[in-house]
């Protein structure tokens, strides 16, 4: 890095963070400058949030050192970081839905009166001042859960302001804000810069860089790719830096003939409000043929998982649109209905959604198709065992027997049990949501080969993945999603990392 004239407030040197089996950050340097915005960019899983969680005291366990105004410092808690002026505005909101706005802002540091009771008047008065700065228009007595997600984000920012932060970290703050709220936030950031506050801004939106940032730091796969002055670079250059990894060809796809359309999706829409976020899909249409592997790529929160969940009948009441399978047109209202129509979902979170961890391999394998091992209405344990053995051999599930608990298996083997469970339902359409997340390289390769084989046997396969090389290696076609909309469709000859990433980046 070139030396600069700007004052460095906070500096991270050679930060390495290891998770079991993974290096999330590998010797990364990072600086926060007084009165400047250093934008942090990179793909999903590049290590942006991990790095910021270290700087803001969420993770205390890491290698390397952090210097605050030149002095080495090690935060053990977020409260410790906040006390010296380092605050992070998280993307997933850390607010309490049942409390009101002011109570949330001052949670844990309520102003007290002489009797040691909470001084509500002062609390609301001070809250109001901070709220005004972020352009929050409701009363500070409003209960948090009555606010929209974007408004809650503003409260979170107001809370950060109330902490008198000298260093403020924003993690994709505009992803839930309206256009007007975004403009207010930008003006606020300008003000904070004038006050000499050091700012870090994580974003996927390239056009925000030129508007806000002075520096841009690119991370890729846990490595620092470089820090640049925004003036000296271009959007294309940054996108190239974000994805520019060397090709490692793990897997060579075979080309099989495509058959008729197995599944046609027309105008799939969804609007479902959860406690702290809204699931949203907007008019999504596509088709998958027999023998085809269709990839779906998008950044976090683009709606990838929502698409396959809706196809699998998990959002029946809130979804609109039609699936056509053969002659049948319908929208599944439950997983059972989807499975009966030949659809299978391998969910993203195998521990929470895929397996009963306290049950053995055999019982998990037959769970979705128990009727097939019944004799006279009761479970035929011999047949169940034989079936489980067959899948254990076929998918090379490593275990000491089919009666080993799935909770004791490695991630890759757990995933294979989930696959076995869904393959036993004899699906014609397979939906795989991040099928290789968190599993080792050998198991990954086995799953790639399995996907290839399933397609070769004439099934239609839909694969979601955040890993670009993976999805490009597996897919015949890739759809890109952004903010719940379909933003692109690429044939195999058109696959480039730049093109896919560009199509998935949200626009302001």
């Amino acid at each position: 890095m070139k030396p600069t004239l700007d004052t460095v407030l906070l500096e991270a040197r050679q930060i390495t963070k290891r998770w079991p089996g993974v290096v999330a950050l590998d010797g990364v340097d990072f600086r926060v400058y007084a009165g400047k915005v250093n934008a942090l960019v990179g793909e999903n899983g590049a290590g942006k949030s991990t790095l910021m969680n270290i700087l803001s005291g969420v993770y205390a366990d890491y290698e390397g050192e952090v210097l605050l105004a030149g002095q080495p410092i090690r935060f053990r808690t977020t409260a410790e970081a906040q006390r010296v002026g380092v605050t992070m505005v998280h993307q997933e909101l850390n607010l309490i839905p049942q409390l009101n706005v002011a109570e949330n802002i001052f949670l844990g540091r309520e102003p007290l009166n002489l009797l040691g009771m909470i001084d509500y008047d002062r609390m609301h008065r001070e809250a109001q001042q901070h709220l005004q700065r972020v352009g929050f228009t409701h009363d500070s007595h409003t209960t948090l859960c009555d606010l929209k997600v974007g408004e809650q984000q503003l409260v979170e920012i107001a809370k950060a302001l109330s902490l008198q932060a000298r260093i403020l970290i924003f993690d994709e703050p505009t992803s839930s804000l309206s256009e007007q709220e975004t403009q207010t936030l930008f003006r606020l950031i300008d003000e904070l810069k004038k006050d000499g506050v050091g700012l870090v801004y994580i974003t996927h939106k390239m056009d925000e860089l030129s508007r806000l940032a002075d520096y841009v730091t690119v991370l890729r796969d846990g490595h620092l790719i470089g820090e640049h002055r925004v003036h000296d670079t271009t959007t294309d250059e940054i996108v190239r830096l974000m994805v520019g990894r060397e090709r490692k060809d793990l897997f060579v796809k075979n080309d099989h003939p495509k058959g008729e359309v197995a599944l046609e999706v027309r105008s799939l829409s969804l609007e479902k409000r959860l406690q702290n976020r809204t699931l949203k899909l907007d008019d999504i249409s596509f088709e998958v043929r027999r023998g085809e592997v269709l990839g779906i790529y998008g950044l976090m929160g683009a709606g990838r998982t929502e698409v396959v969940e809706t196809l699998f009948g998990l959002h029946g009441a809130e979804a609109r649109g039609v699936l056509r399978i053969g002659e049948r047109e319908f929208l599944p209202q439950s997983p059972r209905e989807a499975m009966d129509a030949g659809i299978a979902l391998i969910p993203e979170d195998r521990k929470h959604d895929g397996l009963v961890l306290g049950m053995d391999i055999a019982r998990n394998t037959t769970l979705a198709s128990l009727v097939k091992v019944l004799r006279w209405g009761s479970i035929d344990r011999k047949r169940e065992e034989a079936e489980a053995e067959r899948y254990r051999d076929e998918l090379a599930i490593k275990s000491h027997s089919v009666y080993q608990l799935t909770g004791e298996l490695s991630g890759g083997n757990q995933q294979k049990v989930v696959l076995a469970k869904m393959l036993r339902t004899e699906p014609q359409i397979l939906l795989l949501d991040e099928p290789t997340r968190g599993i080792d390289i050998n198991a990954k390769n086995e799953i790639y080969k399995l996907i290839d084989r399933l397609a070769a046997e004439g099934r239609a396969v839909v694969v979601i993945s955040s890993e670009m090389p993976e999805i490009m290696a597996l897919s015949d076609r890739i759809l890109t999603l952004s903010a719940g909309r379909l933003t692109g469709c690429f044939n195999r000859t058109e696959f480039t990392e730049e093109a896919l990433l560009k199509a998935s980046l949200p626009t302001v």
Binding site: S334, V356, I379
Partner: protein, 326 residues
């Protein structure tokens, strides 16, 4: 092959089984009245009531729920049974009188219990009321309805057939014990061999994964609460028959003995882990404890303290063994 798989003893119930044997052995040294055949059948008769309820409770707890209303459902089903056999149904205005045979009464009483349980299930599944609250509501509702139905007075004098159910013997086994044994074997079979039994374990182990495996979670939950109500009614028939009387305050506090039996038997309150056979042993432990403390002339106040400590001890040991495995 059938018998082997039904009576196969899980490793998890080994610990309560050993505890039961040690307790029984200790009691027979401490009191000469314990190890007699009279006392044996006495204990078994007492246990049979709690056991019927606890089998239903096991199903509910295996799904991760709880049922506090079993005692009140017992009271109402018992009162309805006694009322019908004594006076039938009469409508004064239209000069209608319906009398019931013994079997008619049994069927109606069971239906009452099943309906109240089903109502619990409806609250839990359709209206998403937490099981603790839903069944707490039913605890009060069913008790109140019992009071309304009986005007707060016991209904006594129920006839020979009822008496036989409570105090009779069949092939050398007391009737209540026979009933409980049938319930245990039927449900042990059901849990081990039927798909629904498997689904009950799966839902308690991981509800989301069960749903994503196409299991109709709500239907199964509705079923387990209905069964808990039905089995409370079975227990009600035994209690009513044994006393030859339906007491308006019958069964109060039974939910606690039942939960204790399930937990001591090694079933996890988080659901997904446990067995009917564990519950059988748990119920026997409670029965032996109750009986032994009486034989040893321990004051009723101390009996409660000791029972509470045993429950805590059982759960602590369970937790410690779970930690060892992890």
């Amino acid at each position: 092959m059938l018998s082997k798989s039904i009576f196969r003893i899980d490793r998890s119930i080994l610990r309560p089984l050993v505890a039961l044997l040690v307790m029984a052995l200790a009691m027979s040294f401490l009191s000469e009245n314990f190890a007699t055949s009279d006392n044996f059948f006495n204990v078994m008769r007492q246990v049979s009531v709690n056991l019927c309820i606890s089998v239903g409770m096991t199903l509910v707890i295996l799904t991760g729920g709880i049922d506090l209303s079993v005692g009140s459902i017992l009271a109402l089903s018992g009162a309805v049974a006694a009322g019908l056999i004594k006076t039938g149904i009469s409508c004064e205005g239209v000069n209608l009188y319906v009398s019931f045979t013994f079997f008619g009464v049994v069927v109606v009483a069971l239906l009452v219990g099943a309906f109240l349980g089903w109502f619990n299930g409806l609250m839990v599944t359709r209206f998403k009321v937490p099981p603790f609250i839903a069944t707490l509501g039913m605890l009060t509702i069913a008790r109140g309805m019992t009071m309304l139905y009986t005007n707060g007075h016991p209904i006594t004098g129920l006839g020979a057939q009822f008496e036989y159910l409570g105090t009779g013997w069949f092939c050398g086994v007391p009737m209540p014990v026979l009933v409980a044994a049938v319930v245990v074997v039927v449900f042990a079979l059901f849990m081990r061999k039927s798909p629904w039994g498997r689904y009950i374990y799966a839902i308690g182990g991981n509800e989301r994964a069960s749903r994503l495996s196409g299991i109709s979670v709500n239907r199964i939950k509705l079923f387990v609460y209905t069964m808990a109500g039905l089995l409370s009614a079975v227990a009600a028939l035994i209690v009513t028959a044994r006393l030859d009387s339906a007491q308006p305050n019958a069964g109060s506090g039974y939910e606690l003995d039942s939960i204790a039996a399930v937990v001591i038997g090694g079933t996890s309150l988080n659901g997904g882990k446990g067995s009917i056979w564990g519950t059988v042993i748990g119920a026997l432990i409670i029965g032996v404890l109750n009986n032994g403390l009486v034989l040893l002339n321990v004051s009723p106040f101390w009996q409660q303290v000791i029972k509470g400590l045993v429950i805590l001890l059982a759960v602590i040991m369970d937790r410690m063994s779970a930690k060892e495995q992890a």
